[in-house]
């Protein structure tokens, strides 16, 4: 066997064609983003306006943060349908805690606890109860919304503490806080998924759960952590959402957020069955959705038709990914 003197891998040897297919398979979402970006700037000159650009970022930040958590859940082979309802519940609880205590810190703390606890319950049902994530989180979706409605008696609750609105409405240089928080969260989740054992374990269990278990990974605990993390990120999104208008609606806040988040994750190239996908992909998936929404508004597409266009884009994205 000694004479198998294998030459070291040398990318320069690769012929152009195989490099191109590699580039496409790894970065198709970035390429798609660039194409959509260029097309948009040609179609409408107002698109490139710096205020419009910042506006897009501001608009995607809440869904973006939710989508980060959704990416982790989907990488583990699950799905979380409860994010929108949990966001509403967290918002309501936050406002109540805020008004009762008068302290912004206590408000934020309450938000983080409620969101991650809801996520923890999701994780418990999936990992220990062996309930399919689709079903478990569907239950949570109904339950969380119902509790939010009950507490707020079906209406909205508004904050009475000065300064709370600063979270979503102040800015640093030209960037609004929510945008900064979104990018910071993206960086954190990226590091978590690519530089720590937690991330490694999530990929492993999403790819082959039995082998992950036989590799001495505590699969159940990782799953619980995954859903808790998703809940925590929903909390962050809920704080921003509540702070933006200083109120939250128990009936309409967060509705359909799960669809937008899942759409962003899928456009970003994460595989539905888990094990494969990237945080960076989700970032660009979120931006693509943001640009589409923005363009449809700029071009006066009827709001009733916007869902159709979005649906089309999602399906196209999935069709392209099938050819791996």
């Amino acid at each position: 066997m000694a004479n198998t003197n294998v030459k070291e891998y040398n990318p320069q040897v690769s012929n152009a064609k195989s490099r191109l297919t590699w580039l496409w398979s790894e970065y198709s979402v970035i390429i798609a983003f660039i194409i959509i970006f260029i097309a948009s700037s040609i179609m409408n000159p107002r698109f490139l306006d710096i205020n419009n650009q910042l506006n897009i970022l501001m608009q995607v930040s809440i869904i973006g943060i939710v989508a980060l958590g959704m990416t982790v859940v989907m990488l583990s082979g699950g799905i979380d349908l409860s994010v929108g309802s949990v966001l509403a519940l967290v918002g309501v609880m936050t406002v109540l805690a805020l008004n009762a205590s008068g302290s912004i810190l206590i408000g934020i703390f309450t938000a983080l606890v409620v969101g991650s606890f809801a996520g923890f319950l999701n994780g418990l049902m999936v990992a220990k109860g062996r309930i399919a994530s689709f079903i478990a989180t569907l239950g949570m979706m109904a339950a969380a919304r119902s509790i939010a409605l009950y507490i707020a008696e079906g209406g909205s609750v508004s904050g009475e503490v000065k300064g709370f609105t600063a979270i979503a409405n102040n800015d640093l240089w030209i960037f609004d806080y929510p945008v900064i928080i979104f990018f910071a969260m993206t960086a954190l989740v990226y590091i978590l998924m690519h530089k720590t054992r937690f991330g490694r374990y999530v990929y492993a269990l999403g790819s082959n759960e039995k082998a992950a278990m036989l590799s001495a990974i505590r699969v159940d605990r990782i799953k619980i952590a995954v859903y808790s993390l998703a809940g925590l990120l929903v909390s962050v999104a809920a704080i921003i959402e509540t702070s933006r208008l200083n109120s939250i609606s128990s009936s309409s806040s967060g509705v359909q957020y799960e669809l937008d988040a899942i759409a962003a994750v899928i456009i970003g190239g994460t595989r539905m069955t888990g094990g494969r996908g990237k945080i960076i992909g989700t970032l660009f998936g979120v931006l693509i959705l943001g640009i589409l929404n923005n363009m449809m508004n700029l071009m006066n597409v009827s709001p009733y038709l916007q869902g159709f266009v979005k649906g089309l884009i999602i399906i196209i994205a999935v069709v392209f990914q099938k050819r791996e």
Partner: protein, 504 residues
């Protein structure tokens, strides 16, 4: 000879990402022959067959069937040309039933379009019976032992009226009697004019059933000839470039105190009343037929299965293991069998598969250090001769034997005191086998306890100090390694002899 020529592959070249894997390979298959395709791990055997089977496209070269050129642009076309392919890794859908797997993509339908379930079941049953397998066609595949899955995979290839059957390591999880049945069947197929291309690392099988052979080395065709005219040693030399001794390893080290003691371990329907001890530095083998319960026994010991009674002592301390993590913490490691299902994380890179069970070794203040991982992999790559050009590619791009080596490296890295190997040399070539045995002996010399599970008696006889034979969930005999004979082991493994006195 030429009038009998059926398939010719000419000047086939193939590279992946600029790395040449096949360089000008020629292969000639005659009508009605069993042709052995030989070569060490990563030589390009599966790749060549994937080209014949239409899975991969060659960069250049041509394929002729009956002197007519054919282009195998996809697997369907290859199948229409009468070529059936049994892949190296099993491709069963475990949530489907046996007959549904058999007919996947070619279901039988009646005129209205409904599935002819009973007809499919009947035919499935018939074909399986030819291999001596008696299972319910309506059983879910996930409930079956691996050897059955492999036999179903083989039967699936028989379903189509093929003229050529490619068998890429079909016997890796079969027990000896199942292999013999398969060989009977292959000889019958041959008589009816069907050609078989047979890939295996078990040279004894080659001698027994093959007519001609072709050897590949590093993507080049080295030699073709008649199996009868060569002895095993010559073929080995052609494959790996040197002779490999088949002798028993001589051990010169002495044992330490008892490391692992198992008393009265019982799990309903799987194994019962298991007693054994393993000392430090000892290599203990467990062998038997498929379904003897040894895999389940050690999966229980490793905490993967939880429903068992009895006691496990490590270093004389009673411990309870209910999760593989706890087993690892207690110093037990398990290299599982059937890598595709139990060990390979196909979406992770080669390096990340290697480090998965011992990430602590690669962390600094909570963050994984890529460079430590890379250096460590380099070490194992040289130690086990893992053939990989770029270890950042996903592990499923490696040849089967090289995947197995990565899994072994993964568990060597864990550094367990008690290391269990279940069918460790699955798909590994003769040369590399020897190197893995050497690693195992080296572990024992360092004072580790090693347990080896294998259905091949010669394998345990070559390296083990003590050999346990299991039959239907019980240990029926225990031999000293140097005293065991294959024949004697077979008696106990088949249940024709039981001798409680041997145990103790």
């Amino acid at each position: 000879m030429t009038q009998n020529l059926y398939i010719t592959m000419e000047n086939v070249k193939k590279s992946f990402n600029g790395v040449p894997v096949l360089k000008n390979v020629n292969l000639q298959i005659e009508k009605g022959e069993i042709h052995a395709l030989l070569g060490e791990n990563g030589a390009g055997k599966s790749t060549l067959m994937n080209i014949l089977g239409g899975v991969h496209q060659p960069d250049s070269g041509s394929i002729y069937i009956n002197e007519k050129e054919v282009k195998m642009t996809n697997p369907r076309i290859s199948q229409e040309q009468g070529i059936s392919f049994i892949h190296q890794e099993l491709n069963m859908v475990s949530d489907l039933k046996v007959y549904e797997n058999m007919y996947l993509g070619s279901e039988l339908r009646n005129k209205v379009g409904f599935l002819k379930v009973e007809e499919m079941c009947r035919q499935t049953h018939e074909i399986l019976a030819r291999l001596g397998v008696d299972i319910d066609p309506k059983e879910y595949v996930r409930n079956l032992a691996t050897s059955y899955k492999q036999l179903i995979e083989i039967s699936k290839a028989l379903l189509h009226k093929s003229t050529v059957i490619i068998m890429d390591e079909p016997t890796t999880s079969l027990a000896e009697h199942e292999v013999n049945r398969l060989f009977e069947l292959m000889k019958n197929l041959k008589k009816s004019g069907i050609s078989i291309i047979y890939i295996s690392h078990k040279l004894k099988e080659i001698k027994e059933v093959c007519d001609r052979y072709t050897v590949l080395r590093d993507g080049e065709m080295i030699k073709s000839g008649n199996v009868e005219q060569e002895d095993l040693d010559t073929i080995t030399k052609l494959m790996v470039g040197k002779s490999i001794s088949q002798n028993r390893f001589v051990h010169e080290h002495s044992f330490g105190p008892v490391m692992l003691e198992v008393n009265n371990l019982t799990s309903l329907g799987l194994f019962k009343n298991i007693h054994f001890k393993v000392k430090k530095g000892e290599i203990v083998g467990f062998t038997g037929l498929a379904g003897d319960g040894r895999t389940e026994l050690f999966e229980s010991l490793f905490g993967y299965r939880k429903k068992y009674t009895g006691e496990i002592k490590i270093n004389d301390q009673l411990i309870k293991i209910d999760h593989p993590r706890k087993a690892v913490e207690a110093g037990i490691g398990l290299v599982p069998k059937d890598r595709k299902e139990n060990a390979i994380i196909k979406d992770l890179s080669v390096i990340h598969n290697m480090s998965l069970s011992s990430i602590g070794n690669f962390e600094k203040s909570g963050f994984i250090q890529d460079n430590i991982e890379r250096d460590k992999f380099q070490y194992y790559k040289e130690l086990l001769n893992i053939k990989v050009h770029n270890p950042s590619i996903t592990i499923d791009k490696l040849s089967g034997g090289n995947q197995q080596k990565v899994i072994i490296a993964k568990w060597l890295e864990v550094g367990a005191d008690i290391l269990i190997f279940d069918n460790p040399t699955q798909g590994i070539d003769v040369g590399a086998k020897q190197e893995i045995y050497q690693q195992i002996v080296a572990l024992a010399e360092q004072g580790k306890s090693v347990i080896i599970l294998s259905s091949e008696a010669p394998e345990v006889m070559r390296i083990c100090h003590t050999i346990n034979v299991m039959y239907q969930g019980e240990i029926t005999a225990r031999f000293k390694g140097e005293e065991a004979t294959e024949e004697e082991i077979m008696h106990y493994a088949t249940g024709s002899k039981r001798e409680a006195a041997k145990i103790g």
